[in-house]
Amino acid sequence: MSKSNKIDLIVGGKRLDGRDFFEVREIEMKVNVVNNADGSAMVRFGNTTAIAAVYGPRLLLPKFLQEEKAVLRCRYNMTPFSTDERKTPGHDRRSIELSKVIKSALEPAIFLEDFPKTRIDVFIDIVQADGSTRVASINAASLALAMAGIPMRDLVVACTAGKINGCLVLDLNGKEDNFGEADLSFAMMYSKNRVTLLQTDGEFSYEEIEILIKELKKACEKIYEMQKSTLKDYYQKYVE
């Protein structure tokens, strides 16, 4: 797929927001931001903000949909005010696809067989969109699942990479996503060293993919440590 390449995304060896090539944006994580949910989390990558809320496991109805294991349902939604130009509210083709992608990135980590006949609902809302929304969603959802007490093999960590003006970079922002040449979304269970999502749009050579995955794993380690400290800190806050 050809993407337009009209603007200079790299000025003086730095990216437009002043980052180095393999530098991730500022990350902020919070848990239990939605009181009604069983577990919830907010993850911010630069200007991209995702809120995930998990409900369940709860009984799956109607009965004919019930399986011998739990059914994971994900709903990804972009709020109308999240982008520069108003986004038409509601479910569209893009959000249906992303819901599916997020679901299959999280599914390998969850012990769905522990809760037969039930469903686990994951609701993800993008409050502010500036590129890499799906990885912010996956990071938020995995934190929310952990807070909801859903048994998992490991936390799922995600990050993006891409190619802009012929250079390989990590964690694309909105402009780089739109005007860059290619992008790659990546999710993994870090301590298990298992990749759960690898999705690209654009062209990479074999060597480029190899370099990127190496760099992505380094970035994922940082995000993974951050997720762990966020969970630990939440339970420290009642200590006087």
Binding site: K117, G149, M152, L231, Y235, Y238
Partner: protein
Amino acid sequence: MKVREIVLTGQYICEEDGRKISNTVYKEGGKVFSKVVGVLKITDEEINIIPLKYVYIPKVGDRVIGIIKEVETSGWIVDINSPYLAFLPLAEVASSYVDVFRTDLSKFYNVNDIIYTKVIKVSEDKVINISMKDEESRKLKDGVIVSITPTKVARVIGRGGSMIETLKKGTKSEIIVGQNGYIFISGGKVEKAIEAILTIERESHLYGLTDKIKELLKNE
């Protein structure tokens, strides 16, 4: 206050060494990892993690508090704070014959009634039967229900019932704790009791909780 050791999802715990493992941990090649965020408890026989949040999975013999959801022709459907609904058959309520075609079962229990009951059967496909034919089983009246995470019920009761005694003494309420995380409170200082129970739920991973609750109930 000191915090109990908290383990996180996916964290390596220890070698299995032929010990029993609970359903909140999993093993991969002899190594045991955590499935949930919880408090670690290792003994010589068992490796266990008490999750800080979990759903109630019914076991036979559990005493639970339920809320009647529906009245059926030959029994009741009961919410027991679990992903699965429980069924209370008429035979486990009435001591003598009841003609189901001529009697309105809501005269026994109606929708939204609260009952203290016992789990008598959990089938493989998670059909749960409960019974009222038990000395302690009864209908609960004039009170409120507080819902907490079922794994923290043990903390509300305390070692040898110490915490629940403190609560009862401090609030002069009748407090009945179901294994499923529903707690029934009636009479006395209900609001104080609710506050104390929610504090226990929130800070269950800390040491010295009984003292804190004593302090909380003293401040009047």
